[in-house]
């Protein structure tokens, strides 16, 4: 394979093309409603890269998305569609906030307890769905959707329990103890001007590397991928697909649950009453798709998404609907979904092998 066809076969190239096309479609829509796409996109760009503070915030926005993206990617690799990352994220954040308020421990230990309980909550939320699938043959997409909503109302229930609710009333829990926070040291906050900068991004990158290692370098990873590739062949080779589903759905839940914990310990320090689903889990699906279910790809995809979310908020300043970001992201996914068609066309033109 020569260098040229190597580039033509790389997923990154098609993802890049899809992103460009997504922005073009967004620009066309902006023109249709009479907004200037150049004004909008330059606001988006300066809104993300204009100041160190903005870059820092984009990274803070990306951290939970790396976790939910990894969660969905992990399930994709084993042939499961974790549309339940949303609920697992929510129970993770509840567990983190409850342990963050109730316990009184020294800093590193307290953080560890919060993270472990969030991971356990996420794992439970995923494992129950796995159990229903394995034992009763219940379609996981259905149970995931149910569990998303149960988590949603559970969270609102916890917010309204007197023990956790804010003393001033208000529709949120108390703040977690300072010993449970994972904020970055003061000098980084003053240096960047971003008061929410935290260690979540490092935890997320650590999780991505760990996932890459498990998937690519361990026997467990091999089994997981084997079932994802073909359940029947894997069974034929003596791999119990039921066991693999249970493991992968639990790990997937852990990852999403940790995402919820990072959001609470790092940025929000509390859980607020939901009016609608916060979409971290659903955005994780997009992250996993843009990142081609590759853990390292998910980091970059989440950074991109985080930047789009943060920068998108500022579009209202130039009177452009921030929803154009959702349309761009959706369009990017459409183009990624059909990228194999481009691939074939480009290869035919240059005479490379398909």
């Amino acid at each position: 394979m020569n260098k040229k066809s190597k580039i033509l076969n790389s997923n990154a190239l098609y993802t890049f093309i899809a992103i460009i096309l997504g922005f073009i479609v967004g620009a066309i829509l902006l023109l249709i409603i009479g907004d200037d796409p150049i004004v909008a996109y330059s606001k988006l760009f300066t809104g993300v890269f204009g100041k160190p503070k903005f870059i820092a915030y984009s990274i803070v926005y990306a951290s939970p998305l790396i976790f939910t993206g990894l969660s969905v990617a992990f399930s994709f690799r084993t042939g499961v569609f974790n549309i339940g990352a949303e609920g697992q994220f929510v129970v993770g954040s509840i567990a983190a906030v409850v342990t963050g308020i109730l316990f009184d421990l020294p800093a590193p230990l307290h953080i560890l307890v919060c993270l472990i309980s969030a991971a356990a909550a996420g794992a439970l939320w995923g494992a129950v769905v796995g159990l229903l699938k394995v034992k009763r043959g219940i379609n996981e997409v259905l149970s995931y959707i149910m569990f998303n909503w149960i988590a949603f109302y559970l969270s609102n229930y916890v917010v309204n329990i007197a023990m956790f609710g804010r003393d001033s009333g208000g529709e949120a829990t108390k703040d977690i103890a300072e010993s449970a926070e994972i904020g970055a040291p003061e000098f980084l906050k003053t240096l960047t001007g971003c008061t929410d900068i935290n260690w979540g991004i490092l935890l997320a990158i650590g999780a991505a590397i760990l996932m890459w290692f498990i998937m690519e370098k361990t026997t467990l990873g091999f089994k997981l991928r084997a079932v994802g590739f073909s359940k029947t062949s894997a069974e034929y080779a003596g791999i119990s697909s039921n066991k693999v589903f249970m493991i992968s759905m639990s790990i997937s839940g852990i990852l999403a649950g940790l995402g919820g914990a990072v959001q609470v310990l790092g940025m929000q320090h509390r859980v607020s009453q939901f009016a609608t689903q916060e979409q971290y889990g659903f955005q994780g699906i997009t992250v996993a798709l843009i990142g081609a279910s590759n853990p390292i790809g998910c980091i970059f995809a989440a950074l991109f998404y985080g930047a789009m979310k943060y920068g998108g908020n500022k579009l209202t300043m130039v009177n452009v609907p921030a929803e154009v970001v959702n349309i761009i992201m959706g369009t990017i996914i459409v183009f990624i979904a059909v990228s194999h068609v481009f691939k074939r066309l480009l290869n035919k033109k240059t005479g490379g092998e398909a």
């Binding site: 829509l29 043959g137 959706g330």
Partner: protein
């Protein structure tokens, strides 16, 4: 005794408002899934239908015309899903996920562009909404009134269950669509055009989901808001899986949700139990029903698998 009857009437009334949008979307989902195309984008199709329905009714003053246009908007997204999934053999789950971003995104985007940066469309007056039927038969507030004085679109959704059941099981096209979802290769050998069947089914699913969305804005909510649909499309998909991909089964699933919603509205008046715990009822009941009564539901064999015609 009297309060029990009144309460029952109120439950049924709430059920008749909550069920139709789910049911319309679920029937749409049946079409798509049974023909072999996963449509997780129902949610996005409902949202664009809800927006289009409200806006068209606002400008034309005609609720029924808005309702129909809501369906057309959903169908437009059905076309997108069909092209991407059937002609380009894309991964169907990915395409559906994209629609769930584009549909709601586009709805709010256009809403802000049309109504001075407001994400809510202006409230509809009663004349441009969908009317209620049989309002004069019983005294307002009585049991009979609560049960029968509801939206004709609600009646329509129940009639559609029978019509679609008939199409699925008693017509040639129904046989073709079910076969396309089970064994598309065999269909082609028999001269059935699988692409055409699937195109029709996916576009129909968008149309019905759009109607479901438009029902919400044109009956109960009276305007478009970003939160009008939130989650209902997914519930409709859940109802279809619950009902084993059959229209009559989906009806049962939707009625469970509708009924639990009715109970919810009664219970939340009393304030004894936390409203958040009450809100969990539909989801918990569905899971329990699945575990103890329904069991596994077999997905159509070719569902999710792109069909490529052999040359």
């Amino acid at each position: 005794m009297n309060t029990i009857i009144t309460d029952l009437g109120l439950i049924i009334n709430a059920m008749l408002i909550a069920t139709p949008p789910l049911l319309l979307a679920a029937l749409g989902s049946c079409f798509s899934e049974r023909s072999g195309v996963i449509n997780i984008g129902i949610e996005g199709m409902m949202t664009i239908g809800a927006f289009t329905g409200a806006v068209v009714a606002y400008f034309t003053g005609n609720g029924w015309f808005g309702f129909f246009c809501g369906g057309l908007a959903g169908a437009a997204f059905g076309v997108l899903h069909a092209v991407v999934c059937i002609s380009f053999n894309a991964d169907q789950t990915i395409a559906g996920t994209a629609i769930n971003f584009i549909g709601p995104g586009l709805a709010v985007f256009l809403c802000k562009a049309m109504f001075e940066n407001s994400s809510d469309s202006p409230a509809l007056d009663t004349a441009s909404k969908l009317p209620r039927m049989f309002t004069g038969v019983f005294k307002a507030g009585s049991f009979g009134y609560n049960v029968i004085a509801t939206y004709p679109a609600a009646y329509l959704s129940f009639v559609l269950v029978i019509v679609i059941w008939f199409i699925f099981y008693k017509t040639r096209f129904g046989m073709h669509l079910r076969a396309a979802g089970e064994h598309p290769e065999a269909c082609e050998t028999l001269g059935i055009n699988v692409y055409k069947v699937r195109y029709i089914c996916v576009i129909t699913s968008g149309f019905l989901a759009g109607l479901g969305g438009a029902f919400v804005t044109l009956s109960t909510v009276s305007q478009f808001r970003p939160s009008v649909i939130v989650g209902q499309g997914f519930i409709a998909i859940a109802a279809v899986i619950f009902g084993k991909f059959k229209p009559q089964g989906a009806l049962v699933g939707c009625l469970i949700f509708g009924f639990c919603n009715g109970i919810k509205s009664i219970l939340s008046q009393s304030n004894v139990v936390s409203p958040n715990l009450i809100s969990m009822i539909p989801y918990v009941v569905t899971l329990l029903a699945l575990i103890f009564f329904v069991g596994s539901s077999r997905v159509p064999a070719a569902n999710g698998k792109p069909f490529v015609r052999s040359k």
